[in-house]
């Protein structure tokens, strides 16, 4: 070292401080590449935002817009015929008896009897059926739902009036943005449609061009229908609400129980290890597999329980009930609930456990009065978030047999049901353009439901964590 060092010194200096053109070019290139990379990375991140924006845009764009509609009987004429002022009174505001009267005069007696057997109009009297046949069909083995269910409400009958008396037919629909930017374009398109004979027997003067909000209060309140003009998602919303209840009712006690067992009670042995690995594995199983489990076990093997026949309930003829679906979704969320509850429990400091024990409390007493109250907000948030995820699941529901077309509200755990995601799936897969608008509107409803659940999680967490301090 000491011998060769002085001779090499000048060379080393030049290497240390390069300032020739080649080096400067190299440095500029490095800086440029670094900038370019940062740009690309930011662009990638922006793509995610763009994707979300496009998705929301598509849904909202499809939920409102101009339509060309042909009514068999104009609602305004109907209201005027009944002696109301069509300027101030809408079809939905007329008396219940008048709606039933409209049905009586427009509907064939066969259809009327079918409607009545499905669900009756009055508690105390029959409209289409005679008393004798009613008693006869209700005492037969295959008594229709109308024998046991309560009478229809006015929203239900209004939907029937729309469906059977007004009979609207939307022949063309436009999306929101073109409706605002180019309303004349829609009129031209409709006119061109009439010229080409695309609208069949209808004449241009029958068609009314009007604004339609596919997502509206009426849409939320109307039952499902095969006629897109009057279809709503009331049945689906109620079905989803039942699913939320049953899923929470199953997944929360079991999930939190399992988490308490694993964190507070289980000894670190092989068996505990197996459970833990198993839970992690289950979290990665595709949801459709849970649907198959639900179909094979809950719907088929446990049919006496899930159809309610074991408890003397005869309304459901198989196990494809809201109970089966709710437990399937519960099993699906279980791993996530357990993992998030475990996180919350592990976050409670060990000193509290030691303090509880030192006071002579048993393990469970410590857990119940020391650990759980502190871990509660965390458990709650995690649970609601994972249940919210499950509510959007579609595949498991299809497997356990959510009915795609049901107009009767679910009345209990043994009801047949449909749910919001199922409704969206059905409508999306229909080719007619009206159903596409309905699917978009139902998507808004589903996203709002999920938003509500998420907001509830945040609010509850904030409230409880403040109280805990």
């Amino acid at each position: 070292m000491s011998v060769g060092a002085p001779e090499r010194e000048p060379q080393v200096q030049r290497d240390y401080f390069p300032d020739d053109e080649e080096y400067k070019g190299f440095l500029a290139g490095r800086t440029r590449r670094a900038r370019l990379f940062q740009f690309w990375a930011l662009l990638a991140l922006t793509t995610a935002v763009l994707a979300l924006a496009t998705l929301l845009y598509t849904i909202i764009n499809d939920s409102f817009g101009l339509v060309a509609v042909v009514n068999e009987r104009d609602p305004e004429d109907i209201v005027a015929d009944l002696g109301y002022d069509p300027e101030t009174v809408s079809l939905g505001e007329i008396e219940y008896d008048e709606m039933v009267g409209l049905l009586e005069e427009s509907v064939s007696s066969g259809v009327g009897r079918r409607l009545e057997r499905e669900q009756r109009f009055y508690e105390d009297r029959l409209v289409f059926e005679s008393d004798e046949t009613w008693i006869e069909i209700c005492s037969s083995d295959e008594a229709p739902t109308g024998c046991t269910a309560g009478p229809r409400d006015s929203a239900n009958v209004l939907a029937l009036v729309q469906e059977r008396v007004v009979v609207p037919d939307i022949i063309a629909a436009y999306e929101l943005v073109p409706s605002i930017l180019d309303p004349e374009g829609f009129e031209d398109e409709v006119a061109a449609g009439f010229e080409s004979g695309r609208f069949g027997d209808y004449t241009p003067d029958q068609a009314q061009i009007e604004w339609r909000a596919w997502f509206s209060l009426t849409f939320l309140r109307s039952p499902a229908s095969s006629i897109p003009e009057i279809a709503g998602i009331r049945t689906a919303i109620l079905g989803s609400a039942w699913l939320v209840l049953i899923t929470i009712g199953f997944a929360v006690p079991v999930g939190v129980g399992a988490a308490i067992y694993l964190v507070e009670f289980a000894k670190p042995n092989r068996f505990t290890n197996i459970i833990q690995t198993n839970i992690n594995n289950l979290a990665g199983v595709p949801s459709i597999i849970y649907g198959m489990l639900g179909l094979a076990i809950l719907v088929r093997v446990l049919e006496p329980i899930t159809s309610g026949s074991l408890f003397g309930y005869s309304g459901a003829d198989n196990g494809r009930t809201v109970l089966s679906a709710g437990i399937t979704l519960g099993l699906l969320t279980l791993p996530v609930v357990i993992i998030s509850a475990q996180e919350a429990l592990k976050a409670v400091p060990d000193s509290l456990r030691a303090a509880g024990m030192a006071l002579g409390a048993t393990r469970w007493q410590t857990v119940r009065s020391q650990i759980l109250p502190i871990a509660f907000p965390g458990i709650l948030t995690g649970t609601i978030l994972s249940v919210a995820r499950a509510i959007g699941e579609t595949a498991p529901l299809i497997l356990v047999g959510a009915a795609s077309f049901i107009t009767v509200d679910p009345s209990g755990p043994f009801s047949k049901f449909t749910a919001l995601p199922i409704q969206i799936f059905q409508w999306t897969s229909f080719p007619q353009v009206e159903f596409q608008h309905l699917a978009a509107a139902a998507s808004i409803a589903l996203l709002l439901l999920l938003l509500t659940l998420n907001a509830a999680a945040v609010i509850l967490r904030n409230r409880y964590s403040r109280r805990a301090q």
Partner: protein, 322 residues
């Protein structure tokens, strides 16, 4: 306990042995809750296995053909799994091609470049993307992505139901998964490594791509495998956007790029077949009923394999820093 004298009754001796039926019952209940997860796994394996066995015992089906034939046509008695696997893998690969660059770059930006304000803007957006139900993504694929592809590339080339649209939308769906798992892995790399890089005169790009990413590679790879597993199990987008017809093919006869690997035609995926079959009138103990369980079992093992691969990647290749 050594100080215990015979004439003083010590409270612990009588309390430890005290029977607490309530406490015992609660313990038993909690244990049962833990055991339910095991029961779920057993239930899945048992039911899928049992029904698959029934499927393979059927005269029309042979295990050998199931794994070798390239035609899936239940009406004609052909049960070869490959057309459905082709659909699933094809869509997943397109999804990964879309999601890996976007997700990884997004993760690197969030972990290495972004200021807290930028992070606070982008993180919630990614979380919202995770929270949107897949059926809504399916709607999006059918009403936005498919028309977009058809207008960009030409509706004569792109069928209404096609693999590309489904793949791209599944890709969008797994971007947040990849970015959040990768970001976790990147953030776990200790700062001392970055500081060392800067001290050597490296630029931020060089530190990120040559020091931090290699150090986090096991975590990133594990995240990518999990995302692939998610794409394979994805159902609604695939069912809605890529059609209900399996892409039956014959090696040698059908053109490889023009037909077998053509992204602009439809191809039913495994999950798509299960959903479509189950949404019809499905009688128990029919061959259709049993076939969805055989496909479910295949799918279960595919995702299980991917998930355990991911865990093994983390274990084997993890760089441990202190």
């Amino acid at each position: 306990m050594t100080t215990e004298s015979p004439d003083v009754e010590h409270p612990t001796s009588s309390l430890t042995g005290k029977a607490r039926p309530g406490e015992l019952a609660i313990r038993a209940f909690l244990f049962l809750c833990g055991a339910i997860s095991i029961a779920t796994t057993i239930g899945i394996v048992y039911e899928l296995g049992k029904e698959s066995l029934l499927f393979f015992q059927d005269d029309a089906v042979s295990v050998f053909d199931y794994f070798t034939e390239t035609v899936w046509q239940p009406q004609a008695g052909s049960f070869g799994i490959w057309p459905l696997v082709l659909g699933t893998v094809f869509i997943s690969v397109i999804a990964m091609l879309v999601a890996v660059p976007i997700g990884l770059l997004a993760a690197i930006y969030l972990s290495e470049y972004a200021s807290p304000r930028v992070r606070n803007f982008f993180k919630p957006v990614l979380e919202v993307l995770v929270g949107i139900p897949t059926v809504v993504y399916g709607f999006f694929a059918l009403t936005f992505m498919t028309p977009l592809l058809r207008s960009l590339i030409g509706s004569s080339v792109v069928d209404f139901f096609n693999v590309a649209s489904a793949g791209i939308v599944v890709g969008i769906l797994i971007v947040p998964l990849i970015s959040s798992l990768s970001e976790d892995a990147l953030r776990a790399v200790p700062d001392s490594l970055r500081q060392a890089g800067y001290a050597m005169g490296a630029s931020k790009l060089e530190v990120s791509t040559r020091i931090v990413v290699p150090a986090a590679l096991s975590g990133i790879a594990a995240g990518l495998v999990v995302a692939m597993s998610r794409a394979v199990g994805e159902t609604m987008v695939v069912t809605l956007a890529s059609g209900a017809a399996p892409r039956n093919f014959a090696f040698g006869e059908d053109p490889l790029l023009g037909y077998i690997l053509n992204p602009f035609e439809g191809a039913q995926a495994m999950t798509g077949y299960i959903v479509i079959t189950a949404s019809g009138d499905l009688g128990y103990n029919t061959i259709d009923y049993n076939s969805i369980f055989a496909i479910g079992l295949t799918l279960f093992f595919m995702t299980l394999g991917l998930n355990s691969l991911s865990r093994r990647l983390v274990k084997r290749f993890r760089e441990v820093y202190e």
